[in-house]
């Protein structure tokens, strides 16, 4: 079986707890905002028309103008043809009565002699804790309240209509899984809101249990379709059985589409994270066992011009506890929530038929000789599920409509100067001219479109107009002076738990990371291009053979496999595809089977390689950290915090200038990437706890390879700083 939630990403749990508290706060604020609403509803119609290609606006442009009328309108979504209608509470009853739960309880009672009755009680309690309570009352309430609140802060919510008609039909014939990208806690409410708006059945949603315990909010979320899954349940067989049966019961009976987030948690860094297979494989089991004819999986890409959580995410990524709720905080937040958050784009991808997808790879008849309650996935089914999950993530990325701000963020973070002063610093001190920025933005937009990215770029406007619009939306981060220069705004000093991080460093890091979030949104478009560019620009030779390029490309794909979503089997296809694209855009020059380095080091490759440089730098520091600290075994937390400290020291001494490398998520991915490459290996410590073992030879190989592509401090310098740091660090560790 596949575990739903890995235990290693410790920082996510920290973050989850933090965010949970914030949700409550922000939610109340939203409602409060609504109640004391006095501001006018702003509409920038010019940039947000009713129709935009296949996209339709659903927030401001409705046939029914009154929110009350709209939220109470007759709503008759399509229903699955074999669904036997039942109340939410009946789902729980059915789960408890299901053969798999009866069997599990019996088995457990035999195994550890705990009483049958106690286990049954336990099962009931779990089901109660888990159960959704979807009702139209809550949906209509949300439809009303959110309409009011969102209209104040969003210019538009766009939904693409090209697959909607098909999807509505599919909902009648097959169970449907909605798989949105997850980059904001708004996703959950937004999806239900959109479904209600476009006459799709409102989904039931798998939610992390941390939202559950909050008074009021928990039950309100339940009523809008959430059911709660504990983040960690390790080897709790009963919980696992109930969780899978609960999901499967919903899929089998097709009560409503089941929505969950493949990435398991919000992607704070704003780029897709590796899929968690627990929920997906549980949801697909009814298909594998022939209980349903097919299941349709709908990847959905959601993008926000501006995130409600932008600074929050930056703090979380740095591992900084959130400042306490205070009156001043609330007032400030009120200010934030009455700001301009631009557009939201919800893009439904073409629904994927699981049957068609698995047709060649899976033989379902292997389940014919076992009773159905016995849960088992064949090796092929596990492999195909994994592959489907990756494809869904790629489809989400493809569907996502990027904001022009992503381009601006990428540019502001770019063009590091030799002295370590990037545009970010320059723009804080001396600013960047709007015209200069517009030119860069325009250039990057062309690159983006050439490599398959989708961007929200209203027709009929100059780049400068669009730039100014997006700068207004992000006026919390940037300001535009009277001289038409763009300045980054100052961030207050930030205190960190990690003693190695001083407040000023942290403040800079927050500023960088906030920009990095938006830049990250577009990285998937360039991920293969970026890797090729890194190799080409890093080369000391006159030319590189395609073979060598491919080898290095492979090395980078393996190393960065946790930071970016790649299909392992598509390496060659991706490589050839990106080379072709680069040749067509003159980004590289190829002669016979060689890339000529000199003409291939140009604006495009340099820009792209610099965009990906911070990742490699962070990996490099991590390698250095492990190489210089000789320990038999590591905990992931120690590696990450230690590396973060080392990075901070190097940043302070001007040896490095990418502040975003302080991101804990990046470091966590780095550890896992190095595990994937075999430079760190997982093992069990004497006490049975999992621990990590650094493999110096492989680590130094990786470090050397990285150093050959990007600029890093010389090893001697680095070692010196490691020594300085070694004392306090080891004392702390």
């Amino acid at each position: 079986m596949i575990r739903a939630i890995p235990s290693s990403k410790f920082f996510l749990h920290v973050c989850a707890k933090q965010s949970a508290g914030w949700v409550l706060g922000d939610f109340c604020r939203l409602v409060a905002l609504q109640l004391c609403s006095s501001g006018s509803i702003r509409r920038a119609m010019s940039f947000s028309p009713k129709r935009k290609g296949t996209y339709e606006e659903i927030l401001h442009h409705r046939s029914q103008q009154s929110d009350v009328g709209w939220s109470l309108r007759s709503y008759t979504p399509p229903q699955y043809r074999y669904c036997s209608p039942r109340r939410p509470i009946d789902v729980g009853t059915a789960v408890l009565a299901s053969p798999i739960i009866r069997h599990t309880v019996l088995q457990l009672s035999e195994e550890d002699e705990s009483s049958f009755a106690r286990l049954e009680q336990e099962a009931e309690a779990i089901v109660k804790e888990m159960g959704h309570d979807l009702g139209m009352g809550a949906i209509r309430l949300f439809a009303f309240v959110l309409s009011k609140a969102w209209r104040r802060i969003y210019k538009a919510i766009y939904v693409n209509s090209e697959h909607l008609t098909k999807l509505q039909g599919l909902c009648k014939d097959y169970p449907v899984l909605l798989l949105p990208s997850h980059r904001s806690y708004m996703d959950f409410l937004l999806m239900s809101y959109v479904c209600f708006a476009v006459n799709l059945p409102v989904p039931v949603i798998t939610a992390g249990a941390d939202f559950m315990s909050m008074k009021g909010v928990g039950s309100l979320l339940r009523k809008s379709g959430a059911f709660f899954i504990r983040r960690q349940f390790g080897s709790d067989k009963l919980y696992w059985a109930i969780f899978t049966e609960y999901v499967q019961s919903l899929v089998r009976n097709g009560d409503a589409p089941v929505e969950f987030f493949l990435e398991g948690t919000r992607s704070r860094a704003q780029k897709s994270m590796g899929p968690k297979l627990g929920c997906l494989s549980a949801a697909l089991e009814p298909y594998f066992k022939g209980e349903v004819a097919d299941i349709y999986v709908v990847p959905i890409g959601i993008s926000y011009d501006r995130l409600l959580e932008e600074t929050l995410y930056a703090y979380e990524l740095l591992g900084v506890p959130k400042p306490k709720e205070s009156t001043s905080g609330l007032l400030k937040a009120r200010h934030v929530l009455s700001g301009d958050y631009g557009n939201i784009h919800v893009s439904f991808s073409a629904p994927i038929s699981v049957h068609d997808y698995f047709r060649a790879g899976v033989d379902r008849s292997v389940h014919a000789t076992l009773p159905r309650y016995m849960s088992s996935h064949s090796v092929e089914e596990v492999a195909c599920t994994q592959s489907l999950a990756v494809d869904v993530l790629l489809q989400q990325q493809k569907a996502i409509v990027l904001s022009p701000w992503s381009l601006v963020a990428a540019i502001l973070l770019q063009h590091s100067q030799p002295g370590g002063m990037g545009v970010a610093e320059r723009s804080q001190l001396e600013g960047v001219g709007v015209a200069e920025l517009a030119e860069e933005v325009h250039w990057l937009k062309l690159q983006l479109e050439n490599f398959g990215g989708r961007i929200n770029w209203p027709g009929g406007y100059t780049t400068e107009a669009i730039l100014m619009d997006t700068l207004t939306v992000h006026s919390d981060l940037v300001s535009v002076s009277n001289e038409n220069r763009v300045y980054l705004k100052h961030v207050d000093d930030v205190k960190s738990k990690n003693a190695a991080l001083d407040p000023v460093t942290m403040a800079t890091a927050v500023r960088h990371l906030t920009l990095a979030l938006y830049r990250n949104q577009l990285l998937h478009v360039f991920q293969n291009l970026g890797l090729v560019a890194l190799v080409v620009t890093g080369s000391q030779e006159n030319e590189i053979s395609l073979e060598d390029l491919y080898k290095k490309f492979m090395f980078l794909r393996n190393l960065l496999c946790k930071d970016f979503i790649f299909r392992p089997c598509d390496v060659e296809k991706d490589f050839n595809g990106v080379l072709l694209g680069m040749k067509h855009t003159n980004a590289i020059v190829q002669e016979n089977n060689h890339i000529l380095v000199a003409p291939s080091v140009n604006k495009c490759t340099v820009f792209m390689s610099r965009m990906f440089e911070p990742f490699l730098v962070a990996y490099w520091v991590l390698c250095q950290f492990l190489l210089t600290h000789n320990r038999a075994s590591w905990k992931i937390r120690d590696i990450i915090e230690g590396t973060q400290g080392l990075e901070a020291a190097m940043l302070n001494h001007g040896m490095l200038h990418h502040y975003e490398i302080l991101s804990l998520e990046l470091l966590s991915n780095a550890v896992n990437g190095l595990i994937h490459c075999g430079a760190i290996c997982r093992e069990k410590a004497a006490n049975g706890n999992p621990s990590l073992l650094a493999k110096p030879f492989e680590l130094s190989k990786v470090a050397t390879e990285i150093a050959s592509m990007v600029t890093v401090p010389t090893c001697d310098d680095a070692a010196a700083y490691v020594k300085i740091l070694a004392v306090p660090l080891s004392a702390k560790l």
Binding site: S84, A293, R364
Partner: protein, 614 residues
């Protein structure tokens, strides 16, 4: 007849000389020139077919069936609505083949000379040969109507006894000539198709002239029958003595005892009488190595693996079944139809499952889905009585308005009760009570009876459909109880989506019924039909779709076949179904009984060619 008495010497039972002599004058229901009685290119009797009369209403011709001569006013509209057909679009069948249209016979001269010397009756007539070149699989009927044959039997032989069969087989073995046993010719698995690669002479061994009841033993309730006797004939003759066999497959008017054994047939009333494997006491099979038989008529033996089971389902690949001792039963005092309507298919399945759990199934119980229920309604004959149509209206209103049945979801279970009056009454009570627990309402005898009629007439209806460009076929499976409903849903869905994938504009007719109940599962029977307009190769399209449907069945945990058998159309799934080792076991039986592959119809699997032949 002496022959038969000689055979019965071995038995403990009494020989009823009166009975056998009285039967001896009876000629079999199937003449040697079958095409004189039966359609040469379609199902059943020549005099019976569905036609569109001058009022453009469907009418059944002839006098043989209850509906014969009646008008079915609703059927045409049902067809128009379900298939998007146009009555102007007709695909008439081609005229009867002449000798020149058919492949010329491969003649093994020494064999033919020996055969002529032996005096065994045979024919080289092209129409005799053509009639035995096919069963009733869709592609075969299509070939008759619109296509042609690459290979047909080269000679037809009509042995009249086991001894003559033994002579035939010996001759064939001696001259390396292929024998394909031919019974009723109702196969729907291409089992009768001649392998197109076969270069040897092919003899169709028609068993229809072996149709005697050799003896009947009232004490032990057994009878010894020759294998060429048809089901209808058996029942008629046994009934005259106050007995019945009770084996009624849908094809029982034409299919023969030998064919039932060779395909592991299943009868509609198996709940009382059992399937063919439960009915046989002793089977005699002529193989190239001699006669395979048991030594006594004991009801059960433990003597190693039961060799009957090597023959049951062997599909003519091992030898010719010549004589079978079967169990018989006294004729039931009372037979009654019945029906129950359910709000939805799932409820009906739950009810059937409960009936099976309680083991209180009547002689037959079948659950048809909504599509077939509606189809059944379309077969209602013209109704001239105002009262009747008024009552029908009330019934419908009661169900839909009062009981809240959805006309697009409801389905019906049809029932046959048999036994003494008291037994039938008790059975009815129990079944209707159980049905009530699942929302079922008794819906009268007429609905039940119509359901069973449908199954006898369905193949005639198919012929009419072909006329208007609708092709139709049935297939079946068996499956554990917990997967029955899902299987039905999934297979129907698969049929619909495969049709869509082929670019068909209109949804096909995909329908199923649960036809047999067992302790551990059920048999499910599918009807599938679609309009072929616009398809370049309709038969190929059909075969691809059916193949996909079979994949779906296996994926859902269903079997390769419940009673139709493997033939040639399901060979590709045999290994998956019985494992590679299983196929090897069957191969080794084949090798032992028929090393030269005389019974080379190519069913089940491709017989390994002996090394010496290579």
């Amino acid at each position: 007849m002496l022959n038969s008495i000689e055979k019965s010497r071995k038995c403990h039972g009494k020989v009823d000389c009166h009975s056998t002599s009285s039967q001896s004058s009876v000629t079999g229901s199937l003449p040697k020139r079958r095409q004189d009685l039966l359609k040469w290119n379609g199902w059943g009797y020549k005099d019976t077919e569905f036609i569109l009369n001058e009022k453009l209403q469907v009418e059944l011709t002839g006098t043989r069936y209850k509906l014969s001569g009646m008008v079915l006013p609703l059927l045409k509209d049902w067809m128009l609505n379900n298939f998007n057909v146009n009555l102007d679009y007709v695909r008439p069948a081609q005229p009867e083949f002449s000798a020149a249209d058919l492949p010329s016979p491969v003649i093994n001269k020494p064999f033919l000379e020996d055969l002529q010397t032996s005096g065994l009756e045979h024919s080289l007539d092209c129409h005799d040969r053509l009639f035995r070149a096919h069963g009733h699989t869709l592609n075969e009927i299509w070939a008759l109507r619109e296509g042609s044959f690459n290979r047909i039997p080269d000679l037809v032989a009509w042995p009249t006894s086991q001894v003559e069969v033994m002579q035939m087989v010996q001759l064939a073995n001696k001259h390396n000539v292929v024998i394909i046993p031919f019974g009723g010719g109702t196969s729907v698995t291409q089992a009768l198709e001649c392998p197109s690669t076969e270069t040897r002479m092919i003899i169709s061994l028609d068993t229809s002239q072996m149709h005697k009841i050799l003896w009947l033993d009232e004490e032990n309730l057994t009878a010894c029958l020759e294998s060429g006797v048809t089901g209808k004939e058996i029942e008629q003759r046994l009934a005259s003595r106050g007995f019945c066999l009770g084996h009624e497959p849908d094809s029982y008017e034409f299919s023969t005892l030998g064919g039932w054994v060779a395909t592991r047939a299943s009868g509609m009333k198996k709940n009382i009488y059992g399937n063919i494997e439960d009915l046989v006491v002793l089977v005699r099979t002529v193989t190239t190595r001699g006669l395979l038989e048991k030594s006594c008529n004991a009801p059960r033996t433990s003597s190693g693996p039961d060799l009957h089971h090597a023959i049951l389902g062997s599909e003519g690949t091992l030898g010719v079944v010549t004589e079978v001792v079967v169990k018989i039963r006294p004729l039931p005092e009372c037979q009654k139809y019945g029906s129950v309507v359910f709000p939805c298919f799932q409820d009906g399945v739950s009810c059937l499952r409960e009936v099976a759990r309680q083991r209180c199934a009547p002689a037959s119980i079948r659950l048809v889905d909504n599509e077939q229920f509606v189809f059944g309604q379309a077969l209602k004959p013209e109704n001239n009585s105002l009262v009747q149509s008024f009552l029908d209206g009330i019934k419908k209103a009661y169900l839909t308005r009062w009981k809240g049945f959805d006309i697009n979801k409801m389905c019906v279970a049809t029932l046959v009760f048999e036994g003494t009056l008291k037994e039938v009454e008790a059975q009815e009570k129990r079944v209707y009570e159980t049905a009530g627990k699942f929302g079922g309402l008794p819906a009268g005898e007429e609905n039940g009876e119509r359901g069973y009629f449908l199954t006898y007439l369905i193949a005639y209806i198919r012929d009419m459909g072909l006329q208007y460009g609708i092709i139709a076929e049935s297939f079946e499976t068996s499956i554990p109880w917990d997967r029955v409903t899902d299987l039905c849903h999934n297979v129907k869905d698969r049929l619909r989506r495969e049709c869509k994938a082929m670019g068909m504009q209109h949804e096909p007719f995909a329908s199923c019924r649960v036809t047999q109940l067992y302790d551990a599962g059920a048999c499910v029977y599918f009807y599938f039909a679609f309009c072929i307009r616009g398809l370049s190769d309709p038969v190929k399209a059909y075969e691809e779709i059916e193949s996909a449907a079979r994949d779906e069945i296996l994926a859902c945990g269903g079997s390769i076949s419940h009673h139709h058998g493997i033939g040639k159309i399901r060979k590709k799934w045999l290994k998956q179904s019985i494992s590679g080792v299983g196929v090897d076991v069957l191969q080794s039986i084949k090798r032992t009984l028929d090393p030269q592959n005389i019974f080379g119809n190519g069913n089940l699997f491709d017989a390994a060619v002996p090394i010496s032949k290579l």
